[in-house]
């Protein structure tokens, strides 16, 4: 985890104004290594967050009360937006309209401010007054525990799977690691890996910066970055001949149609959705339809009970049979 501390110093600090850079750089490594988010809000304290905790930061380090923390000025925020956009806001119109920018290393910077709406859609965000710098972390090996449940050994294929978890439950981390495992091949399905296509609408799975994945996603993986899921899945099917398509947070009608199309084309789909329980997912019409049609053969439930990415349960899609449960201590 020391890597995270180094990553923050090397990859995130150069995008901060000198004052903030100095505050972050002087934080103890133990604190930096568990940091998940750095929050910058106009006229409010500088805060770092980690799973289940947060700390106000003063000029000399962590402080106990907000009034002693360093309060961000308009100048700090103006400089930050200049630095993270490489002084080129015009080059990131699409990303800004979606509310985030990605910086080298795959770290995502969420933006808040005054939105400019045109024809019902957000055109851009002006007067940006808050940033959420989310530290991308690759946790290699998280998929290795799950992967054996996603294989049909007789047919020699990977099963269509849906990962369900609440926000910050580790969905994206698991998807990324599964992409790496499937793509590189770990001998479970023979020595060779499979061709994987990632449709990364929010640039989170591969953490692309200018189209180049910043995180390890495997040797045979193609990424469509910042691409709408439905169009991306169809494009993948038409031209990139993937054997497995990985995408996150499906939920719209067109996403469901594209997933159906991929399943019927014989391509394995591994996707994720927000939710804690099967009941949550069943209340969302599009997902319920997909589940009722039994498109997903495996449902993987994650939580952040014992840290992000806690594997709660794996059930078989069609009959709902549990294959793994954390409550009973493991495989059933």
């Amino acid at each position: 985890m020391l890597d995270t501390s180094i990553n923050i110093k090397k990859q995130i600090c150069p995008f901060l104004p000198p004052k903030l850079r100095s505050i972050i750089e002087h934080l103890p490594c133990e604190l930096l290594s568990k940091t998940e988010e750095i929050r910058l809000r106009h006229s409010r304290p500088l805060i770092i967050c980690w799973a289940g905790g947060e700390s106000y930061l003063g000029e000399e380090g962590p402080v106990a009360v907000p009034s002693e923390a360093y309060h961000l000025s308009g100048e700090d925020l103006r400089k930050t937006i200049e630095l993270i956009s490489n002084y080129s806001l015009y080059a990131f119109e699409d990303e800004i309209s979606k509310g985030y920018l990605t910086i080298p290393g795959g770290h995502r910077v969420g933006l808040a401010g005054r939105t400019v709406v045109e024809k019902g859609t957000i055109k851009t965000i002006r007067d940006i007054n808050a940033f959420n710098i989310r530290i991308a972390r690759q946790v290699k090996g998280v998929g290795e525990r799950v992967f054996p449940f996603l294989i049909d050994r007789k047919a020699g294929r990977i099963l269509h799977s849906l990962i369900i978890s609440p926000p910050q439950g580790g969905k994206t981390t698991l998807l990324r690691d599964l992409a790496r495992i499937i793509s590189d091949g770990i001998g479970v399905l023979g020595q060779r890996g499979q061709k994987v296509g990632i449709v990364d609408e929010r640039s989170e799975i591969a953490g692309c910066f200018r189209g180049i994945p910043q995180l390890e996603i495997g040797l045979r993986t193609d990424v469509l970055d910042a691409c709408p899921k439905a169009e991306g899945i169809m494009l993948m099917l038409r031209s990139l001949s993937p054997q497995v398509i990985i995408t996150d947070e499906i939920g719209r009608r067109e996403d469901a149609l594209a997933v159906e199309e991929a399943v019927h084309a014989g391509v394995t789909v591994i996707a994720s959705a927000h939710g804690s329980l099967l009941e949550d997912v069943m209340q969302r019409p599009i997902l319920r339809e997909l589940l009722e049609k039994n498109y997903f053969e495996r449902l993987i439930f994650l939580s952040n009970k014992r840290g992000p990415g806690t594997l709660e349960m794996i059930i078989e899609g069609e009959r709902g049979l549990p294959l793994y449960s954390a409550n009973t201590g493991g495989e059933l």
């Binding site: 150069p14 901060l16 104004p17 000198p18 850079r21 103006r78 400089k79 200049e82 630095l83 956009s85 490489n86 002084y87 080129s88 806001l89 015009y90 080059a91 119109e93 800004i96 851009t124």
Partner: protein, 173 residues
């Protein structure tokens, strides 16, 4: 006698050259302003068609333009890429300060250039385009004035040099 005549000719010629030097200053200002307007047009193309980030755009444009404007643009790009966490305005001011002696622009012309600093990199493509147009308009006005001044002063300084040299010769003889 011949020696005196040659000396007189030399004095007149030197004085004329001094007049030409002053004229060259006015012409240099005109060329600088023309180059900056051209540079902004190139930047507009980089923004519209390449979405090239500011540091890379100015590095490329700086290489294409003649000195001293080329150097100014190139230096700006270097300051941006230093990674010291400076704002675009701070980088532009530093580059401008460095190039100021070679630009030989008047104070009011330098003020327009300083205002350019707050235009870099802000706003979306449309906003950046508007900023460029506005700055080009200001620079065009300054260019017209510089041209008129150059034309007006061109003959004046050359004649002044010539007449000054001749007066000196007459005075000496």
């Amino acid at each position: 006698m011949y020696l005196k005549l040659a000396g007189a000719a030399l004095i007149i010629f030197a004085a004329y050259l001094m007049g030409c030097q002053v004229c060259a200053l006015y012409q240099r200002r005109v060329r600088c302003l023309e180059e900056i307007i051209l540079g902004l047009e190139m930047f507009r193309a980089e923004v519209n068609y390449g979405l090239t980030p500011l540091p890379q755009a100015f590095q490329a444009i700086g290489k294409k333009l003649n000195k001293p404007v080329g150097t100014l643009f190139f230096d700006f790009s270097s300051f941006l890429r230093q990674g010291k966490g400076l704002s675009a305005l701070e980088c532009w001011r530093s580059a401008l300060e460095k190039s100021k002696p070679e630009l030989s622009l008047k104070n009011e012309q330098m003020e327009i250039l300083e205002r350019l600093g707050s235009a870099w990199g802000h706003g979306d493509k449309e906003g950046q385009g508007r900023q460029i147009s506005l700055m080009q308009e200001l620079l065009r006005q300054a260019l017209e004035e510089a041209r008129a001044e150059s034309q007006k002063n061109d003959r004046l300084w050359k004649y002044l040099g010539l007449i000054g040299g001749t007066t000196l010769v007459l005075f000496l003889f």
